[in-house]
């Protein structure tokens, strides 16, 4: 996206080489209150929705589940999985975004840069056109593969140079691959008259997530999150610049490759389950970095918490704004995200470029 603000290895415009600033106290507070807020959000999330169900019934459904009652089924089969999905997916996008920003040293990077969104969309368009009777689980799988293949191409071409993966090459490759894949999906959608179906899916959000899907998503996501936290120290080093990191004895290529893999697993799973939800991966790491400093050992877990929080409440809003219809959650988050992004961008000094 913005090549001009990448920092060339060794350039002095990078972060000042001072001791790593961080605010562990703030981070711990975020974790505690954030988790509490997520639990509250979850409770709220299972209590509201298109079907009119009394709070008492909700609690009864939770604690004395009776499969004969339709309202209890709504709570268990619809609201619970979707609420949990929003928690998981929010964490995914936010952590993937944080890792991208750390690794590419581009404060405006997120997982979309790797072509994941375009890859998933194209896989979806192809699946709709050529295998319309696929089960949802398979569709999810194809989207994941699509996202992964796109990321592989971007990453491959991005790191062909001798200097390794430079942010500028990554950005260029990501933009070109995304443009290519989006064009293919547009072409397929227009030719097969599928555009609106595709749009519905892209806007779909977490509604309709089933326990079955969660069962596939959750292990991947949890593994991805654990890996991300384990890599946090290396990401912090990398965020100081590849040369600094290499100078400190880091195998930067290995870290980059591993990091990208984690990003693909996290964001790829999220995208294939709920469609591309922009801005979560961009905003949340920024806010987190502002609150807890620049140590990724804190940024990554706190991003996960804040990302979950954002998505849980955005999903509640998406259900309530125009009930009983769903407002596309991606659009909703963009509407918060855009002003924030503009604020971020206009704070940047022009001279940095």
């Amino acid at each position: 996206m913005t090549a001009s603000k990448d920092h060339h290895p060794g350039s002095t415009t990078a972060l000042p080489a001072q001791p790593v600033r961080s605010h562990p106290a703030a981070a711990v507070l975020i974790m505690i209150f954030g988790l509490a807020a997520i639990i509250f959000g979850l409770a709220l999330s299972v209590s509201v929705g298109a079907a009119d169900i009394k709070l008492a019934t909700v609690w009864e459904a939770v604690f004395h589940f009776n499969p004969e009652l339709q309202q209890h089924q709504v709570i268990w089969e619809l609201r619970f999985p979707r609420s949990l999905a929003s928690v998981l997916v929010g964490a995914c996008f936010a952590v993937a975004g944080a890792m991208m920003q750390g690794m590419t040293r581009n404060p405006l990077a997120d997982s979309g840069l790797l072509g994941l969104n375009a890859g998933a969309t194209t896989a979806l368009a192809l699946a709709f056109a050529f295998a319309p009777s696929l089960s949802y689980t398979y569709i999810m799988l194809y989207c994941f593969i699509g996202a992964g293949v796109a990321a592989l191409i971007v990453f491959g071409i991005g790191s062909l140079s001798r200097k390794g993966l430079t942010p500028i090459r990554l950005t260029l490759a990501g933009a070109a691959v995304s443009a290519l894949l989006l064009a293919i999906s547009q072409g397929v959608a227009i030719f097969f008259h599928l555009s609106q179906d595709l749009a519905f899916w892209l806007a779909g959000g977490v509604a309709g997530t089933s326990w079955g899907q969660l069962q596939y998503m959750a292990p991947l996501i949890l593994a991805g999150l654990v890996a991300a936290i384990m890599m946090a120290r290396s990401i912090t080093l990398l965020s100081l610049g590849t040369e600094v990191a290499a100078g400190l004895g880091q195998k930067t290529r290995l870290v980059q490759t591993g990091g990208m893999l984690v990003v693909v697993v996290l964001a790829g799973t999220a995208v294939s389950a709920v469609g591309p939800i922009g801005f979560v991966g961009l905003i949340v790491p920024h806010v987190t970095r502002y609150l807890v400093g620049i140590d990724y050992r804190w940024i990554i877990p706190c991003s996960a918490v804040l990302g979950s929080l954002l998505l849980v409440f955005a999903d509640i809003a998406a259900r309530m704004l125009n009930a009983p219809y769903e407002t596309p959650i991606g659009a909703l988050i963009s509407m918060i995200g855009v002003p924030f992004f503009i604020y971020l961008a206009s704070r940047r000094k022009g001279a940095i470029s």
Binding site: T171, A179, F191, H193, T327, S353
Partner: protein
């Protein structure tokens, strides 16, 4: 800019530029001829000649003069407009990914169209210029909004911020667009989808008339400003040092780029890749001097889009693939190839 160009231009013979422009011109003539012979209705080359000399059947005349030729001309004009606009934007922002689409101009135009379709039933026989005019207005308004948001009194217009805010505004517009689009009936949605993908609409000589003045005035104007672009491309410090009145020139050139892109978008919808890859290709072929770079951009852009539209008409006939889709499908792999080859 030059530090981002994929393969640095090497010094060649002094007449290289002129030779190249002539070769491009010749190529365009060839593709025009091919394009006249391409389509669902088979017209043999001799029939085309016959018809051109005024002797064809009414049907042949209809196909050639009313469907194919205007479309060819529009492809050339739109391609040239987008490529020149992209080139100006890339040089101004010193960002290799700047193009009309990244600056939210296409998004703004598309939003105006989608708003109109959502809220005004297409029952009145509105002028065929209704949508193009709205698109132009949408593009202009979006560009103005981005400019206002990116401008800061103490620093002037930072190119970086311009691109960033362009991306943000485009994302915001896309969000609104999605909400609106889901409520459209399928018929209208399909229209919008095709519009956004960028299609040379069957073409109508009236569109040619409407578009031609913009291209004829703005492209030469930007070539006239080539020296300023050369200087601006070097960066702020250099250009201020050389005494160019940076801010005013930049605004003027920005307006030129927006007007060009806006006019093109209004006729063809959101064709994206030409504005990105056209300038890259041109720079690779003729180097960074705008005196020769801009004309090369115009020719390459026209050539690209015409080729894409011709292919789009041919590949899946009788169905057509929007030219914008074809451009990206042939342009992006080439772009990636260049990227992979350059090992810098």
């Amino acid at each position: 800019m030059s530090k981002y160009s994929l393969t640095p231009y090497e010094k060649r013979q002094p007449h290289w530029g002129v030779t190249l422009l002539s070769v491009l011109g010749l190529l365009i003539v060839v593709i025009v001829v091919v394009s006249m012979n391409t389509g669902y209705m088979r017209l043999s080359p001799s029939e085309v000649l016959h018809t051109l000399s005024g002797q064809g059947t009414p049907q042949q005349k209809l196909i050639l003069f009313d469907f194919r030729l205007p479309r060819i001309v529009i492809s050339l004009l739109v391609g040239a407009g987008f490529a020149v606009s992209g080139c100006i934007l890339q040089s101004l922002s010193r960002n290799p990914l700047a193009e009309p689409a990244t600056l939210g101009i296409s998004a703004g135009a598309g939003f105006a169209v989608i708003l109109f379709i959502s809220f005004v039933p297409a029952s009145s026989a509105a002028s065929i210029f209704m949508l193009p005019l709205l698109a132009l207005a949408g593009a202009g308004l979006t560009a103005a909004l981005i400019y206002v948001l990116a401008f800061r009194r103490e620093e002037g217009l930072s190119p970086t911020r311009l691109v960033l805010i362009g991306i943000a505004v485009a994302a915001g517009i896309n969000a609104f667009q999605l909400v609106l689009a889901l409520r459209l009936d399928p018929e209208n949605y399909q229209f919008v989808a095709i519009w956004m993908a960028g299609k040379i609409w069957g073409g109508d000589w009236r569109f040619v008339q409407a578009l031609l003045p913009w291209i004829l005035i703005l492209v030469p104007f930007s070539i006239y400003k080539a020296r300023v672009l050369n200087v601006l491309n070097l960066g702020d410090q250099t250009s201020t040092g050389l005494g160019a009145p940076v801010e005013r020139e930049r605004l003027l050139l920005l307006a030129t780029a927006v007007a060009l892109a806006g006019a093109c978008v209004s006729v063809s919808g959101g064709i994206g890749f030409v504005g990105l890859i056209g300038p890259h290709l041109a720079r690779r072929l003729v180097g960074p001097r705008h005196q020769i770079l801009l004309p090369a951009c115009a020719l390459i852009g026209g050539l690209l889009l015409l080729t894409a539209d011709t292919l789009g008409r041919w590949i899946l006939q009788p169905s057509e693939i929007p030219a914008g889709v074809v451009v990206a499908i042939i342009g992006a792999p080439y772009f990636l190839y260049l990227l992979a080859k350059s090992r810098a």
